[in-house]
Symmetry: C2
Subunit: 332 residues, 2 copies
């Protein structure tokens, strides 16, 4: 424990993200101040939102070139100057893409030890809670309704579809490519799948959802959002979770057609959310997720890549839709 | 009572609506079937939605060329074959642009006689209830919040802004031209006005709403929607009432930028509504509106044009923003 390997966001991407935006660096291991802890990253979460943070202010301030790349870690306390935490404790810490970081202890909650540990970043972490609260609290699906989710093979989408099935809904996933489409049906139990890369999404969705879409859980924005909007049933709900189609490039010149006209005539509710807003109800959500996982009703799919140095390519691949389930990097 | 003058939608408009789409015709006065009433139009309501119905299916089926133009009438029963209604009763009837029409009596509610009668079409009709329910039940403004409304000098907008003031909000109206902007402040009590015809709406709105917009009541869609979206406060609500900017032309090729990205990061709720969905609560709404009108706290602005034959130019003028308050045509 002498050096701290870091991935620096060396320059802001102008178009698509490439490895050239990042560089590996070494820095001294920081010392925790009074009230802080020093943590070591075990697994670093990869999320499409990482790329959005490069575009400007979101629910967090914009990233700046020259800084350690931002991201969340499942990390272990190695030195504590905060009364509630001790070495060996596991926490989720927003320390960015580096091996070591310090953080105020009062902002960290001790996580339970479990096997596999990675579940703390996937189904029991931001990913699982995003799927859970977004679908159930924002989308409010009723049994028998048709739920559509985009990026259906991804970390959040794969859980959204399964939770919707557990709640008695008919579930259609939108994913890229025939293999992913077959997989969400065969392995995850989706009722239907639409391959957006095959084109004609609006028509394919109409065929897959003859009674219209009651809840559309949107992870992507753009043309797929537009295709879903045109297929919504009256009084449908669109859950705006992310817009990955707009992240990895210059911002798109226009939004989807049908906004706001179809929102009026179909009486839709289109609602954005950020998972932290629901954290007051976290314990109950985790208990329900835990029950489903333990009983085998909810499959947890993870995609773990080894090595801090692989974070840039792991993120670039995630933006290209390479992963199935929750992607993270294991830090040695 | 021998002939029934009608305005026929002779051909569907290809671009902007012109008088050439309409023609005046005469037909026999229809006879009511059993269970129906024959009514005579007194005032015919003009609404931007009239134009939207020409674009395709909305919350009603699309209009067809060759039919009597659709529209709502404040009408008087002249012959009744329905037990609950008698000659002289006033009703709101969806009989279109003609002097006489028949309708099933069970779909009609007898309206109270009042002076001025026109209030039944404006503040106590679809217009007033649209403003009331859209703002209060969909937008849910809290005292002290900033409410922005577009088409602020129009029938719905002029009421929305005043009701928001009555509920303790700070109110900014968006209207076309310096005169309308001065008028909504001086005559209607809006706090600020933004002239969308002067350009730079996004910046002007930012200056008028330094703390962001908590509720945006949208009557127009398009660029003004986009300008409002970029100025929303976190957890703001956009009430989608109409999209007049998109009605009087071919449908726009794209929607507003920032959809759905800003909806996510600002955690917005964007919700469309159609006033009929709220009619279960109509009596309480009318009572509150009545109280405000009687006490002089709510100004009712009407724009009454004489003569059935003037319906086409009245609608064309409404789409161009000619009117202040509720426009209707008096049928002799």
């Amino acid at each position: 424990m002498t050096t701290n390997r870091q991935i620096i966001l060396a320059e802001m991407p102008q178009g698509r993200l490439t490895p050239a935006s990042f560089r590996l660096a070494e820095a001294p291991v920081p010392a925790p101040a009074d009230g802080e802890v020093l943590v070591k990253a075990r697994y670093i979460s990869l999320d499409a939102a990482n790329r959005a943070w490069m575009q400007g202010v979101t629910y967090r301030s914009a990233l700046q070139a020259g800084q350690v790349m931002a991201g969340g870690s499942l990390a272990e306390v190695v030195e504590s100057r905060s009364p509630g935490l001790a070495p060996g404790d596991l926490v989720f810490a927003d320390i960015g893409w580096q091996e070591y970081g310090t953080a105020p202890g009062k902002h960290l909650a001790r996580l339970p030890a479990m096997a596999p540990l990675t579940y703390l970043l996937s189904v029991y972490g931001v990913t699982g809670l995003t799927a859970y609260f977004g679908l159930l609290e924002v989308g409010k699906p009723k049994a028998g309704e048709t739920v559509v989710v985009s990026a259906a093979a991804g970390a959040v989408g794969s859980l959204v579809g399964q939770i919707a099935k557990l709640k008695g809904c008919r579930v259609v996933g939108i994913a890229g490519g025939a293999q992913k489409c077959a997989w969400i049906k065969d392995a995850l139990g989706f009722d239907e799948a639409v391959d957006y890369k095959a084109g004609g999404v609006r028509r394919a969705l109409r065929e897959a959802c003859p009674d219209g879409v009651s809840v559309y859980f949107d992870n992507v924005g753009g043309d797929v959002f537009e295709a879903a909007l045109f297929n919504m049933a009256n009084h449908g709900r669109i859950v705006c979770c992310g817009a990955v189609s707009a992240y990895d490039d210059v911002p798109p010149p226009h939004g989807p057609r049908g906004v706001p006209g179809l929102i009026v005539t179909k009486r839709l509710r289109v609602e954005g959310f950020v998972v932290m807003d629901f954290y007051a109800a976290r314990d109950a959500a985790l208990a329900e997720l835990h029950g489903w996982v333990e009983s085998g009703q909810l499959k947890v799919v993870e995609d773990v890549i080894d090595g801090l140095e692989n974070l840039p390519v792991a993120l670039i691949g995630l933006l290209a839709g390479e992963n199935r389930g929750k992607r993270m990097v294991k830090v040695d």
